[in-house]
Amino acid sequence: MNNLLEQFLSEARDFLQGIGEKLMQLENDPDSTELMVELFRFVHTLKGNSGLFDFPEMTRVLHASEDLMDAVRNGRVNYSQTLADQLLEAMDFVGSLMDEIEVTGKIGSNHLVISTELTKALRALLDTPDAVNVPVAIEVYTEDALTVKGISWSELPIMDLPETIAMGLHRCSIDGETVLWLQYTPEPECFFKGEDPFFLARQIPDVAWRHVILNNSASTLAEMDVFSSQLVFQLLTIAPETELDDLLRYVPDQIHRVKIPALAFVKPSGSSTDQAIDDDVIDSVLALFDNDEIDALIHTINTMLELSSPELWSSSALRWVLHLIDAEPDNKPAQRILLEAFRTQTAPDWSVLTPPIVPQHKTVSAPIHVNTSEIPDTLLRDFNVVINTQKEILSLPATSSGAWSAGRLKAVGATLIGCYRAVQRPHEIEGIEAALNIALTQNSPVPLLGWLETSLANTQELIFKGEPEPVVASLAAQPEVKFGRRTDDARGENAVAASKTLKVDQDKIDRLMNLIGEMVVAKNALPYLANRAETVFGVRELSREIKAQYAVINRVAEEMQDTIMQVRMMPVSFIFQRFPRMVRDISRKLGKEVELVLEGDATEADKNIIEALSDPLIHIVRNSLDHGLEMPEARLAAGKSVTGKLHIRASQESDRVLIEIIDDGKGINPEVIKHKAYEKGLIDEATLERISDQDAVNLVFAAGFSTADVISDLSGRGVGMDVVRSAVEKVNGTVGIESVAGKGTRLFMSLPLSMAVTNVMIIESNKQIFGVPMDLVVETVRVPRVQIRTIKQKQTTVLRGRIVPLLSLNDLLARNEAQLPNEDDEFATLIVRVHGEHVGILVDDFRETVDIILKPMTGILGGLPGYSGAALLGDGSVLMVLNPRELI
């Protein structure tokens, strides 16, 4: 993937995110024009970006979205829920395309249908058909123009159109629409390629007329190969060519298309009779025409029409005359040809029609001169475009263009100088400069314009004579010009385009972190070295210097570590931002009304923690929506407001992040939980009797517990809160629940800010050292042998009035050795908290606690659940860190 595409994808995701957020905000504040403008800008920019690549499916949908948002922004279409849904769906589609591009680098061909449907749906919301379709340039196809394009009148497809359609298309043509004739001949084998010619043919938009013919090479029905396509589709459309290009991009070789000039539609049809119109009558009609007595002419034609049968060719021709007079009143030559055609009763021959009708909007009447200079055609064309543009700029009336500032004049001057230099006419520059100086003193564009016109007249060889550029400058009646449209976006939420952030590959950060970790370890070797210098080599001074140097390195290393931690910190908004949309979708699906309140989304935590948090949190929110909050009727009956409240709150408590999910729903009924747990065999009868309500509520975290009676689409898919608990515990977090029946539920998760540095206690057992994460260690005690009792073959002791089961580490690790007591016959015991229970682990001895960088084990060792990982110690030895949760 090239860097441009990468950049596009990364930026586009930001935009999609931004679009989603804005839509959410709009739901609460549908009248905010500010939001609307922002939203439009996002969609607009995204569309613009996608246009850089060949992703027509994506661009098409975005284009329709942009048009829709434009209409909303301008108040032509009202913002509505359906509209938001449609837009969100479109953005989801775009997102899925991006996923595909990210993986494969391109868009598969299977999205055309959805893309077209979405586009159609979006366009349908633009219910006001764009009536204000200002014709840009009237392109007249004369015989000349046709010849230039390699088509002559005789080659035009023969169309037998109904008269009304032909008249309609003729008028479209006159109004500036391009009418295209398409002939689509599917490959004979197309059916075997999974193509659907009918579908494609029906996809073509704005079709005025179509029909299908059989391209059967003279065979009987019996000989016909029914598995090969012999169809030819012919149709006339006024759809923009770009749209057709998109649609037909897979079958370009099967398409023949011709631009149909307006007059080609003027073709009377009907039955000829020998009862031709008298030459006298024709002469008198022509006389009326030549004398420009149009009213009398129309009157005469109407009378003739009344007298003749409407099916006749001549009647049709008469109707065409009326049509032509109406549609193209100034095109006298064409009208005359049509009238002349009465004599022969044959179709009018437009090829004799010269000269062309000159479009009135042309600003440049390009005299035809042969280009004798050596300047390439393309350069000459571009030169003409730029020069004509400057001419247009200089002709702008001062009223509608704002004041003529010196800067604008200078810029035009600079542009002209550049252009003349580029076409190797440097001697013109003096003239431009002189004209510019006069213009500047007069503060008027006229001197420059005068120079330019004179110069153009004198340098005919610089005028491009190829295809005329449709330069249009209808300057009259321009509305008042407004400048510098500012959108007030000082607030941070509009930071999508403005934030000065650097996007760095996560791998690079991880690598940097590993290196810093290694350095921290390497640094720890210095105290050992100092020690050796003194004890082994007996150089005390050196030892002291090493220690001094160590202090410096230590400080820098710690700062580096802090900084890299900061880099890895992410705000929880990263996961919070998806909730508005999710809650909205789910609550709508369930028919519940929910108000979501997000708090503290600026709270930061390590990226790994944030990522680990994401899935459990989604699960919990789904649960709350599905099981916690009641239906509106039930809420009313319980005397609560119809709208349920869901709070998601993040806060920092010393070195931990606390996430709370609070709903004011029906809460958890401990009785129901108890019985459910009993039915599922999670607790025995005795427990059922004496379990406290809080403990009962905690049972929802037990493995295999799910209270949902019906497995719905949203939650209760066999995974329950136990999955949440294990996910949270994996990152050394804890999870808890409090609930008051009828009032609501509070679920909280406490997670470390960072997982990068782990504080472990080093213990010794069987002449080996191990680490135990400190956040699991409740306390360390020495238990005298006499206080260890054996109950049901299990060792236990009573500690501060609690019975604590004791396990020997050697047994847990399957080492067949007894733990060693100290000289007072006491066993070193580590009390750890596992699944809310206190358990004592007997070891040989305690050592110090250290901060280490815990590396999870990989490969075969990764399958050992008893260890959470390994770390390097300062002296270079490896410390295995135990995972008591799995071990016990």
Partner: protein, 124 residues
Amino acid sequence: MKHILVIDDAATVRLYHRNILEKAGYSVDEAINGIEALEKSLVKSYDLYIVDVNMPKLDGYGFLKEFRRQEDVVQSPAIMVTTESGNHDKILGYAAGANLYMTKPTKPNELLSYVRLLLGEVAE
């Protein structure tokens, strides 16, 4: 070497133009909106400006209008680049001080051809 300032809020478009222009041997600076463009253009003089229309804070029209009002700067040509093609928009841009309009996405050859013309460079 000629200096060109590309002003666009979309990083993708900026990169796209940068790639084209740098390959052709120009030095390219970027600005993400009209305000930043003004700041940059007042301290360094560029030989050409490529200006997007729709930008936050200060749009392309606003930038050009303001820039063209400055007395002591070199008034280099400006190409306005936008997806909003249409007569009305063009007039707005020209009145603000643009010298040429191009529609997005710009075709590399076309862009370079116009850039060379505006910079007065003779094609090889």
